[in-house]
């Protein structure tokens, strides 16, 4: 029987083009913030997990697990250090692996980090590196890129459900408005609808401001067996459910490109374990690498019906003062998307919300939150449900 697991500390770095911070400094900063927040001493750590997508290509560094343990000052403790990779869902999957290790009883306290340093490469190298998360032989070799594939999903969604470019753009408007309230966000400014619509076309119907940026950043959380959490914090946040699913790596293999079945399955399993319905969610962080991605995410997670994601944006269901606020952090769109860090940063945001420590972007009386982290174009997905009593 698995035991309950709680999050007792979180730490995030500022996201952005952080030219004066290296890969290792970023993750060490996030990790030490999380440890300080949890109140534990480093000696109490049983293991370290770190999610990162492509340190080999971004900074020429592999063997990241041991490096992060070393640079965090844990080398002399000889704790297990595990690097987790699942493209853009690396961070979310690291959280899930950390959860299992504590839930199983193998470990009592672990730290989970996520990090990416993407701005040390120039030109198209970042786009090419991200495209390694696609199917090389069936997609990347033929020139497919992330914006190109998400653009196909968007045009199909427009065709099937009447979703409009304005509705896509309104996702960006909402998330930039939220990002303006987040001190850690890469873009701390609201952007009006006209500007989003007028941004240079990346891949129709996605303009540049429909796309998440290339970012540097890191996030970390400390997980603890729930029965011991009270020793460290008055505000433990429980992981009520976790779900993970996979799908065909290439988009053309899907039964329906307007649905990520990986999201549907990961969501269902997480809801089942947490014993909740989508309507019970008070706040959610979903994987909006492109504006269309947020629309299909809220549909696939059951927050709205399939095809009604665009309408939900029009009806302001997901704004900060809406029925279910989505991406209060600014999301990948405005907060930034250092890929390996994203899944962990989403959890950190929900923890801050559930603790009532989200400042100007605080959702009132939030008790149950969801995180949704997608790898590539939906070939993998990790969902977590967090809660406080």
């Amino acid at each position: 029987m698995m035991r309950d697991v709680a999050i007792i500390g979180v730490g995030v770095t500022k996201f952005g083009e952080l030219w004066d911070k290296s890969f290792r400094n970023l993750i060490a900063e996030a990790g030490s913030k999380a440890l300080l927040d949890s109140g534990i001493s480093g000696k109490e750590l049983d293991a370290l997990y770190v999610g990162s997508m492509s340190t080999g290509r971004f900074v020429g560094q592999e063997h990241v697990g041991a490096l992060v343990a070393d640079w965090s000052g844990f080398a002399h403790m000889h704790i297990p250090a595990i690097r987790v990779e699942s493209a853009c869902a690396s961070g979310g999957l690291a959280v899930r692996q950390g959860y299992f290790s504590v839930a199983s009883g193998m470990n009592d306290i672990v730290v989970v980090g996520g990090v990416e340093k993407m701005t040390d490469v120039v030109g198209d190298e970042a786009t090419d590196t991200l495209a390694t998360g696609l199917d090389q032989e069936w997609e990347s070799f033929f020139g497919a890129t992330f914006p190109g594939l998400y653009a196909m999903i968007a045009t199909r969604h427009m065709y099937e459900y009447g979703t409009t470019r304005e509705q896509l753009a309104k996702v960006a408007v909402k998330n930039h408005a939220n990002g303006a309230l987040n001190p850690y966000a890469q873009f701390k400014r609201a952007i009006p609808l006209e500007k989003i619509l007028a941004s240079p076309m990346t891949a129709y119907p996605l303009g540049m401001l429909d796309c998440s940026p290339v970012s540097d950043g890191a996030a970390a959380i400390v997980l603890c067996a729930a029965d011991k959490a009270k020793e460290y914090t008055d505000k433990p946040v429980k992981i009520l459910g976790t779900g993970q699913a996979s799908d065909t790596l290439s988009l053309h293999g899907r039964r329906d490109i307007c649905t990520f079945d990986s999201t549907v399955y990961a969501g269902k399993n997480a809801y089942k374990q947490a014993k909740i319905e989508p309507t019970d969610i008070d706040v959610a962080e979903v994987h909006d690498c492109f504006t269309i991605a947020e629309i299909i995410a809220i549909e696939d997670l059951g927050i709205v019906k399939k095809g009604e994601g665009g309408k939900a944006i029009d009806e302001k269901i997901t704004t900060l003062d809406g029925k279910i606020p989505v991406n209060t952090s600014g999301g990948l769109k405005a907060k930034g998307h250092p890929v390996g860090a994203t899944g962990v940063a989403q959890v950190a945001e929900i923890v801050m919300q559930l603790r009532g420590e989200a400042g100007d972007r605080q959702v009132k009386d939030a008790k149950i939150g969801l995180t949704h982290n997608v790898g590539a174009v939906g070939a993998s997905c990790v969902v977590h449900i967090l809660g406080v009593k």
């Binding site: 083009e17 030219w19 120039v122 030109g123 007028a198 240079p200």
Partner: protein
């Protein structure tokens, strides 16, 4: 340092122009987004028979035309550029020969991205001050390269300016100069490569802004001056936006900057950029005016100068050579296909 300064100056800008909107249209970009983002509306283009040597010779001849100096009294020629026509063989020898300053002449070509010309001014100042030469000519000129489709293509242009540095008949004293240099790889061109590469936004905050801000503040500290003490301020101008923004950050006004701000209408002349700006200011300056000049070169460094115009400017025959405004107004537009042909863009790097 009071007795070292500018004795004369000359400028040259090629006649051909291409509009930013034509470049934007050729690449399917929105012209308004480009001009609004960069603040560059058109740029000068060298014709196939113009290069850094011809631009440097023109500028040096114009500088001499404004003085009675015998070219044989010129003891040094330093040409700063990142587009010297030869990788090995100096531009400076061509200039020295063309203006009649050879053979008892110190010559070298300089390269420091966009600030090689101001480095040449500092070298000439030192040679004059140490009495190793009577007059030295410092030139900054470029026919800068930009890869087709790169953001640099909207600004990379051609032009240059020459300054005769000496102790006698000085029209503008250089009161002080200082430099700020670090190893910051924001922009570069490897040996044998046709076009430069750059680090995108990395060329901004940690490169252009950090070096200019630090150097400008150091200079004002060393001469105990404030932005309001200057009539004119000239900054390196890689686009129309950066110089205005850095001026504002330092406390200068747009009025102080506008006479020396040429990039919006001729583009970024690289090594010629801040020097042409200074030439444009000297075209209108009056005795007693104080001028603040700060160059920037990628790689990276900045040279700053505190300059005061002297009474000698009253009798200085400015009109013996074209003013910068005349060079700017003498123009002929070409389209992108002509530009591509002239700039040799039609085959691979």
């Amino acid at each position: 340092m009071k007795d070292v300064g500018i004795v004369s100056y000359g400028a040259h800008i090629p006649r051909l122009r291409i509009k930013s909107s034509d470049i934007a249209n050729a690449w399917g970009k929105n012209p308004d987004t480009i001009t609004g983002g960069l603040g560059v509306f058109e740029k000068s283009v060298p014709s196939p028979d113009q290069d850094v040597a011809t631009i440097s010779v023109e500028a040096a001849r114009f500088a001499l035309a404004r003085t009675g100096i015998d070219p044989q009294e010129i003891g040094a020629v330093y040409v700063g550029s990142e587009s010297h026509p030869y990788a090995v063989k100096p531009t400076g020898t061509i200039v020295g020969e063309a203006i009649g300053a050879t053979p008892l002449l110190k010559v070298a070509d300089y390269e420091f991205a966009c600030k090689a010309g101001t480095a040449a001014i500092q070298t000439c100042m030192a040679l004059v001050k140490s009495e190793m030469v009577r007059y030295g000519i410092a030139i900054g000129a470029d026919t800068s390269q930009a890869a087709p489709g790169d953001a640099l293509e909207y600004a990379a242009s051609a032009g240059g300016a020459a300054f005769i540095i000496g102790r006698e008949k000085v029209i503008a004293n250089i009161n002080e100069t200082c430099s700020f240099t670090t190893d910051t790889p924001d922009f570069w061109r490897r040996e044998g490569r046709k076009y430069p590469a750059h680090g995108g936004r990395f060329t901004g905050a940690p490169a252009y802004f950090r070096h200019i801000m630090s150097n400008a503040q150091n200079l004002m500290k060393s001469v105990s001056s404030k932005p309001e003490d200057y009539n004119y301020a000239v900054f390196h101008q890689p686009n129309g936006k950066f110089p205005v923004r850095v001026a504002k950050m330092l406390g200068f006004t747009t009025d102080q900057v506008k006479q020396g701000l040429l990039c919006p209408i001729i583009g970024n002349t690289y090594s010629g950029s801040s020097m042409l700006g200074l030439a444009s200011v000297l075209d209108v300056a009056e005795p007693g005016n104080r001028i603040f000049v700060t160059s920037y070169g990628s790689g990276a460094g900045s040279d700053a100068f505190d300059i005061t115009v002297t009474d000698a400017l009253k009798d200085f025959p400015r009109n013996n050579a074209p003013l910068v405004s005349e060079l700017i107004n003498k123009k002929q537009y070409i389209d992108y296909s002509t530009y591509a042909k002239y700039r040799d863009l039609l085959y691979e790097d």
